[in-house]
């Protein structure tokens, strides 16, 4: 985000708050300002350019209604360089802890809204203390600041098409418990609600209150601080949603962006076993080896969890931290090794997956420093498939689509947590 952009407030225009209630921060904050954009001259202009406009938390809906109406009027005027089409498929609540994460999340949702029009409610918890803010709200609690802005996309002819809105609620971390009520009042009726919390293991006052009320809970296992956090996430999800068996998910769909990132690996590894001969060989798996990039350990464990779940392998023993003995339902032992590879970067953090089955090796390996994976087995000619890591916005879009519902994710998470914890499924 660049420097705040000051605009003139439209005389008698939309949502002019009484001066005594005007927030102290700049009236309009710019989103990433793009070269060649005009500097907004008033609030409507700022809104249609996607700048964040400061509003009173209790006037958010009224301000938005006015801004949309005026923006639509202006879009009809001659020479307008944008059009207004309001659309909404989701309420999307996103949480960010601290300014850096807020900026990262903001970029993500700007791109997501190009594809999925949604009312976005962005919760930004800051590290300020109430004292440092210098004043208190009438009810004595620390203040919540609110901003609204429009999200848009480029239409085919290059015009900006204003489609959806974003509401940012900014509060010091200690005021977090004040957020759920406000958020509930802002949810649009008749569209489902998704909640994105990248790292759900961080302490949070509001998460346990809002999470059970949404239709889709999205997190990102690749953003977990360490592989042990898989255990925490698994137990958190169990407590939030009372998961009592692999598949009996409550009314909430749980989506892990890290799991979606692993999709190409799962498909490619699965494709090694499509022929009847290979599928037969898979029943005799004796060793599984996964290599991962330095930050890919949670991903490698999750992928191992998937293999355990699908191949009905149970944890038996842990040796040397990431070397495991598993047992199959037929009673034979399988060795699983999860190792760090020498590569720095790999699609979804994985460098190779190898399965030794009945004396033959079935392997999916990253080729050198390309983004191509070579698939080899004694049953097929080697083939190469590029794997384009899907950028986060694309994953988010997938998470909000039908692809987001995947009961196997929870199964894989449970098995990976079991590997990390050493038993106790």
């Amino acid at each position: 985000m660049s420097a705040p952009v000051q605009t003139q407030s439209e005389a008698g225009g939309v949502g002019e708050a009484p001066s005594s209630r005007t927030p102290e921060s700049g009236d309009v904050r710019a989103r990433e300002w793009q070269e060649g954009w005009a500097v907004p001259v008033d609030r409507i202009d700022a809104f249609t350019l996607g700048a964040a406009i400061s509003v009173e938390p209790d006037r958010i809906e009224a301000e938005l209604a006015g801004l949309w109406r005026k923006a639509a009027e202006r879009a009809r005027s001659e020479g307008a360089r944008f059009s207004v089409t309001r659309a909404c498929l989701w309420n999307l609540i996103v949480h960010s802890d601290g300014d850096e994460e807020f900026l990262r999340t903001k970029r993500l949702i700007d791109e997501v809204s190009e594809t999925v029009p949604a009312r976005i409610i962005s919760l930004h918890e800051t590290s300020e203390s109430a004292d440092s803010l210098g004043y208190e709200t009438p009810d004595g609690g620390p203040p919540i600041r609110a901003f609204v802005e429009a999200n848009f996309r480029r239409s085919g002819n290059g015009r900006r098409e204003v489609v959806a809105e974003e509401i940012t609620l900014e509060a010091p971390r200690m005021a977090g418990q004040r957020l759920p009520g406000l958020v509930r009042s802002l949810l649009l009726a008749d569209v489902p609600t998704a909640l994105l919390v990248r790292n759900p293991t961080a302490d949070s006052a509001w998460l346990p209150r809002l999470a059970p009320e949404v239709e889709r809970f999205i997190f990102d296992s690749a953003r977990l601080p360490h592989a042990e956090a898989l255990v925490q996430v698994e137990s958190l999800l169990r407590s939030l949603y009372r998961q009592d068996s692999n598949r009996s998910l409550a009314h909430v769909d749980i989506v892990d962006l890290g799991w979606l990132r692993l999709w190409p690996w799962r498909v490619l590894v699965a494709s090694l076993f499509d022929s009847p001969d290979a599928a037969k060989a898979l029943r005799e798996v004796s060793e599984i080896v996964l290599h991962h990039a330095p930050d890919g350990e949670p991903a490698a464990l999750l992928l191992s969890g998937w293999l355990c779940g699908r191949l009905r392998l149970r944890w038996q023993a842990t040796h040397d931290r990431r070397v495991f003995t598993l047992s199959s339902t037929a009673g034979h032992h399988v060795r699983l090794r999860v190792e760090q590879a020498s590569v720095q970067d790999a699609p979804a953090g994985i460098e190779r997956v190898e399965l030794r089955c009945g004396g033959h090796m079935f392997a999916a390996r990253l080729q050198g420093d390309t983004r191509c994976i070579a698939l080899s087995s004694h049953l097929q000619p080697e083939r190469v498939q590029p794997v384009h890591g899907r950028p986060d916005p694309e994953l988010m879009v997938a998470a909000m689509g039908v692809g987001g519902r995947d009961p196997l994710m929870y199964e894989a998470l449970r098995h990976s947590a079991q590997l990390v914890r050493g038993g106790g499924l």
Partner: protein
């Protein structure tokens, strides 16, 4: 959906629901040096490969007359036409290595002997396991010799393993007799479920959405009948002319080129009863019933004009540039009577649609490119609202328009009160646009259709009896027109290029007290 997706024995496939991956197979394209192969087919296959939707064992074998550097040409084509460009060198190393070419004349049995041994080598090298899709993308004269020669050379397997499927491009016949003859040839060598007659309009997302709109929403289906619907208008308008294809078009005309296939398919999807399942035969059965219920048009020269209008475009302007009239186009006979515009009034005589006219129009060089189905609902039985002079207000009917292209979406027109102290109803629209609600890029029609064929799913293709029924109907019309031409009773109207069609088409509706929509 039926089909041959992989995974039954592979536990790792479970849950990979989004990925419908077919069994290994070779795709043999007849007409490989042609325009369609380069612009659509190979780019679509490349995109499928990129999205990991092709099976591990896959190969493309091109067949055409000339010796050409096929692999290089296809790489260029992918670079130019694929949805995801430029070519990814890593992917191309696998995809390109599976492409090969066999040169030969389609009429020569030796071509098929060479093809046979080539395919055996492909099976060994690429693991395609004897499964084949033969895509016949050639001029229609070659359809029959190819089918017969494939049969004679033993290239068609009638068993389930390995399987053979054949995709046949349009046009499937030019009248009932030729379509029946072609169908017979097909059925001599193939079972019906091995034949995939392609209509690429059915691969379009918005056409498939007609079914979702009707059968996944509770509120529309109860209104979808003669009790509530006054009339239906189906429009497929093109702004372009015949684009240098005068020789072809003059033999064909709009009825054969657009109505018999694409428009009748839309109409079937719009008018059919709910199928018992979303499965090929269940869907085809319902479509055929619609075609069978079409009221026969009179075939005599005198009365055909009460139901149909055909016309040719004259000169005019396209986006401000002067354009020639149809008869001045290269390749068109100066005394041609081939229609570039058709308007029809049809009835589907069944319980649901009794008395509801379906007005159809299609043409070239029209005001703009648009395909849509517009459903006009009946008016309220009694109008409450009156203007100052006592005139009835609020007689504008509700219109639901399903826009197929461009600007895909759905809009509903209804009346609303103009703010103020009087009651003044004014039409407003509720608008859904695909582009706004789903920013994702829809797949190309050919991607979807090629994948479906490899999966053994023919829901979005046309079954033999559908094609024959629609030809039966259209041939009667063609006969009526031929009779009119012979008795020279009917002058062929013309319309200005860049307009919405001839005056006669307006008269067709005004006789019923209706007007065409301006989409």
């Amino acid at each position: 959906m039926s089909g041959t997706e992989l995974h039954s024995e592979n536990p790792l496939r479970e849950g990979l629901v989004g990925e419908r991956q077919p069994e290994p197979c070779a795709m043999v394209i007849f007409g490989a040096s042609g325009d369609l192969t380069k612009r659509k087919l190979v780019p679509a296959l490349y995109t499928l490969a990129r999205e990991r939707l092709l099976p591990a064992g896959f190969a493309i074998v091109g067949v055409a007359r000339r010796e050409i550097p096929f692999v290089e040409q296809m790489r260029e084509a992918v670079n130019k036409y694929a949805r995801r460009r430029p070519v990814d060198p890593g992917l191309w190393s696998t995809f390109g290595s599976g492409i090969s070419y066999v040169a030969g004349n389609f009429d020569d049995p030796a071509t098929y002997e060479r093809l046979k041994s080539h395919l055996e080598a492909v099976d060994a090298a690429r693991g395609t396991r004897g499964n084949r899709v033969f895509y016949i993308s050639t001029p229609p004269e070659s359809f029959e010799p190819i089918l017969q020669n494939l049969g004679r050379a033993g290239l068609i397997s009638r068993s389930e393993h390995p399987w053979t499927r054949v995709i046949i491009e349009k046009p499937f016949g030019r009248d009932l007799a030729s379509a029946e003859a072609l169908n017979k040839v097909c059925l001599n060598v193939l079972r019906e479920d091995q034949i995939y007659r392609i209509d690429h309009y059915l691969g379009k997302e918005t056409v498939q959405n007609i079914l979702v709109f009707r059968f996944a929403n509770g509120i529309f289906e109860p209104l979808w009948n003669h009790k509530y619907i006054d009339n239906v208008q189906l429009t497929v308008a093109e702004a372009i002319g015949i684009e240098g294809r005068g020789n072809y078009y003059d033999q064909s005309g709009t009825l054969r080129d657009m109505v018999q296939n694409h428009i009748f398919q839309f109409m079937c999807l719009m008018a059919m009863e709910p199928p018992v399942a979303f499965e090929p035969n269940a869907v085809h059965d319902e479509k055929v019933k619609v075609l069978r219920a079409l009221r026969e048009l009179p075939s005599d020269a005198g009365s055909i004009a009460d139901w149909t209008v055909r016309a040719q475009y004259g000169s005019g302007y396209d986006k401000g540039q002067p354009v020639p009239g149809y008869r001045e186009e290269t390749g068109v006979r100066p005394d041609s009577r081939t229609e570039t515009y058709v308007a029809l009034k049809l009835f589907v005589d069944n319980f649901r649609w009794a008395g509801v006219p379906f007005y159809v129009r299609a043409g070239k060089r029209m005001a703009k490119r648009v395909s849509e189905i517009a459903i006009t609902f009946k008016n309220v039985p009694h109008t409450l609202f009156k203007g100052p002079s006592g005139a009835q207000l609020g007689r504008d009917p509700n219109v639901l328009a399903l826009r197929i292209q461009p600007d895909e979406g759905i809009n509903l027109k209804f009346l609303s009160k103009v703010p103020g102290p009087t009651i003044e109803p004014r039409p407003v629209t509720m608008d859904f646009r695909y582009g706004s609600s789903f920013g994702t890029e829809p797949p190309e029609a050919y991607e979807r259709l090629l994948l479906d064929c490899m999966l053994g799913d023919s829901t979005l293709f046309t079954r033999g009896d559908e094609v024959l029924e629609s030809w039966r109907f259209c041939t009667r019309m063609l006969d009526g027109w031929a009779a009119a031409d012979e008795s020279a009773t009917a002058a062929l109207p013309s319309y200005e290029a860049g307009s919405w069609g001839p005056k006669e088409a307006d008269d067709l509706l005004s006789r019923d007290g209706r007007v065409w929509r301006k989409p």
